[in-house]
């Protein structure tokens, strides 16, 4: 088994599997959502579902920054990039995301200048080197990434750079979790909280999930054992009838988050009244826009943005996958018309997307470890 070969302490994984199985109440089904796409990746890569009893199901959440960008925003970005003298900068993950008329790569073939950058800060060097061009950074990502955009804007302001702006598409995780909790489609028992988002926002923002919705949350690290341990911690809470926020990843995630990062976001950005998410639709206060104080760096004010809503292709069921209602392989086009090479939907584009993770690592035949078999008297 892959997991045993690759992971150095398979013994611990088997021990955790046995402890999780021992906590299952007969006849009860447990649905746990891992919010973060990085966790989804680990789960499939290491076949962690084989370590869980039949009654424990993992549901993949919306925490994949590229996956949640609606098609209309990709079209808007390409429109911006097509304006005279514009150089757009973007993370590599975004380059292959299909808009209604193609991806950034396709747009470049038609003449736009969209450059891949590692960091938003790289955009500043491009702006300095091209004073006669207008450099627009395509900002995407959750709270993990928003501070980097914020710090880049602050740096640009300090330098007095006038040819740098941001097309802000940053989203916030908590309203998306709330939308899922309020959705009638899905009944969840608990959440594996995102790791790196939580290094920025801390664990407090999840407290409403425990107090108002009565569901436990455990913030988790990215190693296979981290995730198994988090599932165990969730199962302990459920077996004791508790719902609290716990931090399995405390070696990296401070309970109160990173104050300097939150301050930088707050200085440069504010919540939008609403934002459209792929699959989840419009969610109130779920995304960030550039603050008026930094209007000179707001691409949405500097340029005309069409803002046209574009429906996903009919065949694409990314929406259901992002909400956890469908498993990747239940989508009609999974692995046939939609593959990582020719993606139709975003979940197949990003390595954190549930479809890509399952396509690359998943197996139809489950081979549960003996410890995960629940024996009933």
């Amino acid at each position: 088994m892959r997991f045993v070969d690759e992971f150095r302490d398979a013994g611990k994984a088997h021990a955790l599997a046995a402890k999780i199985a021992a906590l299952c109440e007969p006849g009860r089904q447990y649905k746990l959502m891992e919010v973060c796409g990085g966790h989804t990746h680990t789960i499939y890569k290491h076949g962690l579902e084989d370590y869980l009893p039949e009654s424990v199901t993992l549901v993949h959440g919306p925490g994949c920054p590229v996956c949640v960008i609606p098609m209309g925003r990709v079209d808007d970005a390409i429109h911006l990039a097509s304006q005279p003298d514009v150089i757009m900068t973007s993370f590599g993950d975004m380059m292959r995301v299909p808009g209604s008329g193609g991806s950034f790569f396709d747009a470049n073939a038609e003449g736009t200048n969209i450059r891949m950058v590692y960091s938003p800060l790289d955009s500043l060097k491009i702006a300095r080197q091209n004073p006669d061009k207008r450099v627009v950074f395509m900002a995407i990502g959750f709270e993990t990434t928003a501070p980097s955009t914020a710090m880049t804007m602050l740096r640009a302001a300090r330098e007095g750079l006038t040819n740098f702006s941001v097309f802000c598409n940053h989203v916030t995780i908590v309203p998306a979790i709330k939308a899922i909790l309020d959705s009638p489609d899905l009944r969840l028992d608990g959440f594996i909280g995102p790791g790196h988002v939580s290094t920025v926002i801390g664990c407090r923002p999840y407290e409403f999930i425990a107090s108002q919705y009565g569901k436990p949350v455990v913030t988790a690290g990215f190693e296979p054992l981290d995730i198994l341990q988090s599932i165990y911690m969730l199962m302990v809470q459920l077996s004791q009838g508790r719902s609290e926020v716990e931090n399995q990843y405390s070696r990296v995630v401070p309970w109160d988050g990173n104050q300097a990062a939150l301050k930088a976001i707050n200085e440069t950005m504010e919540l939008r009244p609403y934002f459209e998410w792929r699959g989840l639709g419009f969610i109130s206060h779920s995304a960030l826009k550039v603050r008026e104080k930094y209007a000179a760096m707001d691409a949405e004010l500097l340029f005309q943005v069409p803002g046209v809503r574009v429906a996903d292709p009919k065949a694409c069921q990314c929406g259901e996958v992002l909400k956890g209602v469908l498993k990747p392989w239940e989508c009609k086009v999974f692995g046939t018309a939609c593959t990582p090479e020719t993606p139709i939907g975003t979940c197949m584009v990003s390595p954190e997307g549930a479809c890509a993770a399952y396509y690359n690592f998943g197996r139809m035949n489950r081979n549960r470890v003996p410890e995960a078999q629940v024996t009933r008297a």
């Binding site: 680990t42 891949m116 590692y118 501070p147 790791g195 190693e223 070696r251």
Partner: protein
């Protein structure tokens, strides 16, 4: 996207207190450490890096574990290192 890669701080920028040179799997590049202003890292310490910014300090054991995990995920990690290599932060 939310990938965080561990790097060892090699030296602080002599003029810009926001910047530090880090070593990630042998690739040495400048990153921004401005988000750790409340507890700035010093050379020899490890940080978790996301899109050119240090997000948090980590201990060496955590760094080794994260590295092992990242090397295991293959292409996504290689893409990240390739992107870091091409980075222009100054």
């Amino acid at each position: 996207m939310c990938l965080g890669i561990p790097g060892e701080v090699i030296e602080l920028h002599p003029e810009q207190p926001d910047l530090a040179k880090v070593d990630v799997s042998g690739v040495r590049r400048m990153i921004n450490i401005g988000l750790l202003v409340d507890d700035p890292p010093v050379p020899g310490e490890w940080v978790l890096i996301h899109v050119g910014f240090a997000l948090s300090k980590i201990d060496e054991r955590e760094a080794a574990a994260a590295m092992e995990f990242l090397e295991g995920i293959g292409q996504a990690y290689e893409d990240e290192i390739a992107a870091l290599r091409a980075s222009l932060i100054e």
